[in-house]
Symmetry: C2
Subunit: 272 residues, 2 copies
């Protein structure tokens, strides 16, 4: 049994990642958030309201505690640069959580630095299971690497190393797979509403669309008029969209992309 | 208790919808498939192999039984027209299963006609639960309407009426929500593979992306650099895609669409 003092964490940020990190870190044996930093009192209040125990907080960078073990910067890419520049000298390892910010960006400001990138989408309204979130880490030096690995493994069962370039590629893939497909579903939902139909009608279809991805690749799972080369249906859909120029452009662009991707490989099947 | 003779069904088609309908109809009390029609022997064999009991079948339209209660045309939109034109005179109701084919297209050939449109995506490899599939029906006349409603309600707990125009709108929404989002996930998976990363890394993210849609609209669930107005990340991603012109075009088009959709409404948050 170890009776070591808990590791001391300063958490910077009050957005979605910061909120979910704070919730996870509060429940973690061996770690303690000693301070929360946020620019605005209203954002600090929003995050504190969600936590089971109060945390000391500040909205002044100059009041940040300088003797912690971890400084976790869960801030937007744009906020990161200005916060790094204003930070006091501290002990410990500095870690950012951004998919598309290089390790070198943080290492310029503090020698022992790293990245802890959770490949997940976070909403304020919905809890997540950190054990299942793939976390990608990167660090400047051996001592920081071990400290970062310990923290990441305390949070998740799926910790891997990724270089800055690999992490950026992951982030880009996540944007395409998650943000873009969500946008298309949003467009479909508002199209149904505009036509007096219930957006909920799509739910069984969406559940099945995603259940399929547990057993086959999305390429193999592709269905629909474009992959069948069914020009009649595509033209009929384009006619339905003639008063919705934005949707029409989206429909044409995506259909063409599917046709191109699959034109060389598919036998035309009887039906979707 | 009713001891009526089972209703006699002729099923035309050997594709995905026909296969899943055949599987469902074989398990349905009060209904019996008396004949299966398919153009090619290989396709007929493929569907028969999946069924628990053999069914009489033919690949000649002239041999189709003319005294059934239901003729279900689960054929591609293009095959429908030519099969309708070659069909003999029959008893019963003719029903097609296509999202984007008008009721009038089938009614031209047979007075008592209808549409039974299951709003679902079907794969040969994966079974589906028909009770949960929303089915939209439409019929030319009262007597056919009742027969069709009975069949649809025997298959599914979610049966609604939809006009041809409503059904086309539903189909278009389904293509956008399901086929297009699947295509983007396929692009993301192949992008990860091309960069030496595991496509499976996206699964926890995808699960969460779709779990969110059970509790909020896709519009509310939108995350990512585009909805944050995070131009730095968007430009970094575009730079990563400079040798992938097709993906770059897709990335720009979708990001711009999200920016436009959300530009009027969002406070910029700290982080995704």
């Amino acid at each position: 049994m170890e009776y070591a003092e808990p590791k001391r964490i300063v958490l910077l940020g009050t957005g979605k990642v910061a909120t979910h990190l704070a919730l996870a870190l509060q429940g973690l044996d061996g770690y303690r958030i000693i301070q929360l930093y946020g620019r605005r009192a209203s954002s600090i209040k929003r995050i504190l309201d969600k936590l089971s125990e109060p945390i000391p907080y500040t909205s002044s960078i100059e009041d940040i505690q300088t003797n912690a073990d971890y400084y976790i910067f869960a801030l937007s890419d744009t906020a990161l640069a200005s916060v790094f520049a204003q930070m006091p000298q501290t002990t410990g390892i500095w870690v950012h959580t951004a998919g598309s910010v290089a390790l070198s960006t943080i290492a310029e400001h503090h020698l022992t630095s790293g990245v802890l990138y959770p490949l997940q989408t976070f909403s304020l309204e919905k809890s997540v299971c950190w054990r299942d979130i793939p976390i990608y880490i990167e660090a400047t030096e051996e001592v920081g690497r071990r400290a970062l690995e310990q923290l990441a493994q305390a949070l998740s069962a799926q910790v891997s190393y990724a270089t800055t370039l690999q992490r950026e590629a992951l982030h880009l893939g996540a944007v395409m797979a998650c943000n873009f497909s969500n946008h298309l579903i949003a467009q479909a939902q508002s199209w149904l509403s505009a036509n007096g139909l219930e957006p909920e009608a799509l739910m069984p279809l969406l559940r099945e669309t995603f259940a399929k991805l547990e057993t086959m690749s999305a390429y193999e799972a592709q269905t629909g008029p474009a992959v069948r080369g069914d020009r009649t249906t595509i033209e009929r859909h384009e006619a339905l969209l003639k008063h919705s120029p934005k949707l029409l452009a989206l429909y044409r662009f995506l259909s063409e992309s599917i046709v191109q991707e699959h034109s060389d490989s598919k036998e035309i099947d009887n039906i979707e």
